[in-house]
Each structure stands twice: as C-alpha cells, then as structure tokens.
Assembly symmetry: C2
Homo-oligomer: 191 residues x 2
C-alpha cells in the first residue's frame, strides 16, 4: 500500500509518501514541504496548496491519503487555515476517487513513538529510524507528513476491521428492524 | 457589482447572489442551500460542496465572493468542517481568478441590522426587508448567505479605501528605506 501523508498548513504544508511492505515494514518514497507566502490572499494560498496536492497525487498515485485531523490549536486563526489547507488536499484526493483518512496528532504520535504525548523531536527521531533515513527530514512538517503516512499504514488493518464490524452491526440492526416490522404487520392482519 | 455570499457548512451550505446598485441599493438574484449527508465521507462532502460552488460561480459569474470567516464555534469539529467548506469554496473562486473576501459574523450582523450581536431571526427580517422579498428566505443559512453578500456590497468601498491606504503607506515606507540606503551609501563613499 502506498500512502501520501499530509501535515496541512498554509505557511508550510508537509507531503510525505511511504510504501508499506510485509508486517510493519515501511519504506520512504518522497518527502517535501510546500510553502505559501503569508502576504498572499488566502484563496490564492489555498490554490497553491491544491495545485501542489494534485502534483503529488499525480506523481505518486497513492492508494490512500492520510491527513492530520485538526481538533484545536492555541491560535484559532491558524487552526482555521490548517483546516482549510487539509480540506483542499482532501478535495483533490476525492476528485481522483482516492480515499482520505484523518488521524489526530495523538494517534500519529502514539503510532510512531508509542506515546500520544511525544514531542516533535521524538517523532522526527522515530520517523528517521523507522524509514532508515540517513538524515532526519526537516522541517518538522516534513517528518510529520511521513509520520502520518506510517501511522496510516499501521492503523489501516484495524480501521478496516472496525468498518467491517460497523457494517455488520448496521446490517444486523436492519434485519432485526425488518423482522419487527414483519411481526407487527402479521399480528395486525391476524386480528 | 454582483456578489456571491456563502455561509459555509458541511451539512448546509448557503449560497446567495446579490446585485448592488446606486448607493446602498441591493437586489436579490438567487439563493439556495446545498446539503451533504452527514454519513458521507468528509472528502466526498467537500467534493459536493466544491461542485456546487463551481455551478454557482459559472451560473452567476459574480465579481467577488464573500465568505463567512469562522473564528470559533462551540463545537470544534463543526468549526473545522465549516472552515474546510469555506476553503473549498474560496479555492473554486481562486481557480476562476475571482477575488474572495472574508467577513466575520459580527461584521455581517452589524452591516445588515446595525448590531454586531443581532440574532438569526433579526438578520433574516432585515435581509427580507432590504432585498424586498415577499417571503423570508429559509433556512437561516440561506438568509445568512444573502446577508454576507449585502455586507460585502456595503463594505467593499471601505475595504478598497483601506487597501489603497495600506498600499500607499507601504510605498512611502519603501521610498523612505531607499532614501536611507542611498544616504548610507553616499556617506560611506564620501569617507
């Protein structure tokens, strides 16, 4: 499975592609950070990020895109920009029919370091080690994008099992409701 | 000036087109609400909103798009979805070279009701009156989209004056720095 991890942001947007192998094997394919100037109009910054996302999707043809789910940040304005950048990346994937999976920062940290509260430096160290990189990826947004991709590779089987279980539960509930409705109709017509 | 106002949202996204005339004259062109099902994958919901935005832009060819600027909401998850919906609308406009202007809810309320803390019902009443509509637009997202468009029509001259003043100040500062640099070079070469 080939995963494009994206650490969204207006000023710096990290892109990282990882290929998963057997078990927990992961290997690096590409990583970079796309920047947009803060003095550019917001809609034009989003356009640049969208164009970059389309280039990465077309160049690396990932099976899935893993984007950081933004819950809250100290700066609300920054959080909104981050959400908007993630939104246009998800849109570019949806246009190509590529599924998008969102992971929270603590899920990503827990996956690569074993602790959901690990620091940025620790994430970079683990990403460098897990991918067997000679040099640590910089800036942190680049390492975070790779961490997101690794996190998805490892969480994907569990997410798939959960989706299957949910679908089975929904189907069971549907069948139960259908039986109830049939019983009600039968008892009415029997009167 | 023709303005497309957008009240962004994943569940309901309001679109409203208003044409401005002389002074504070505003007339209604079109209004509607686009919905996406909550059980659809986030990236596919964004794709539907993006498609709707493109249809509205192509059908009404606005001179500018006015989008609500999200600062905070009680529910962070909703706020992020709102920001992402607004982001893909802004992106669609940027792709067509149409400028996007963001207005805060209090700026919109102040523009159409005179009070930045007006309630939703008050906004709907004023939008209905200002546009001479026979029936109040529903749901609130439709009225809010029209209010955003009206707000932009009225704030645009002020925004343009502020941009001119900022550009003039930046130019004056640039000229001042150039003079300083020239003076420094002259004094050095004079030694």
């Amino acid at each position: 499975m080939r995963v494009l991890g994206v650490d969204p942001g207006l000023t710096r947007c990290g892109f990282g592609v990882v290929q998963s192998g057997r078990g927990r094997e992961v290997s690096p394919v590409a990583v970079d950070v796309v920047r947009t100037p803060p003095d550019l109009e917001l809609s034009r910054r989003l356009l640049r990020i969208s164009d970059a996302a389309e280039e990465w999707l077309d160049a690396h043809r990932p099976d899935v895109v893993a984007v950081e789910r933004v819950f809250s940040q100290h700066n609300v304005r920054t959080a909104m920009g981050t959400a908007q950048a993630g939104g246009v990346v998800a849109l570019a994937a949806a246009r190509r029919g590529i599924p998008v999976s969102f992971h929270t920062p603590s899920e990503v940290k827990a996956a690569v370091t074993g602790s959901g509260t690990a620091g940025k430096a620790q994430v970079t160290v683990m990403v460098t080690r897990l991918l067997g990189l000679a040099v640590a990826p910089t800036p942190a947004d680049a390492a975070d994008a790779l961490a997101l991709a690794i996190c998805h590779c490892w969480r994907a089987p569990m997410i798939a099992r959960m989706a299957q279980a949910e679908a089975a539960a929904a189907e069971a509930q549907r069948a139960y409701r259908a039986r109830l409705a049939l019983a009600a109709r039968t008892s009415r017509s029997g009167r």
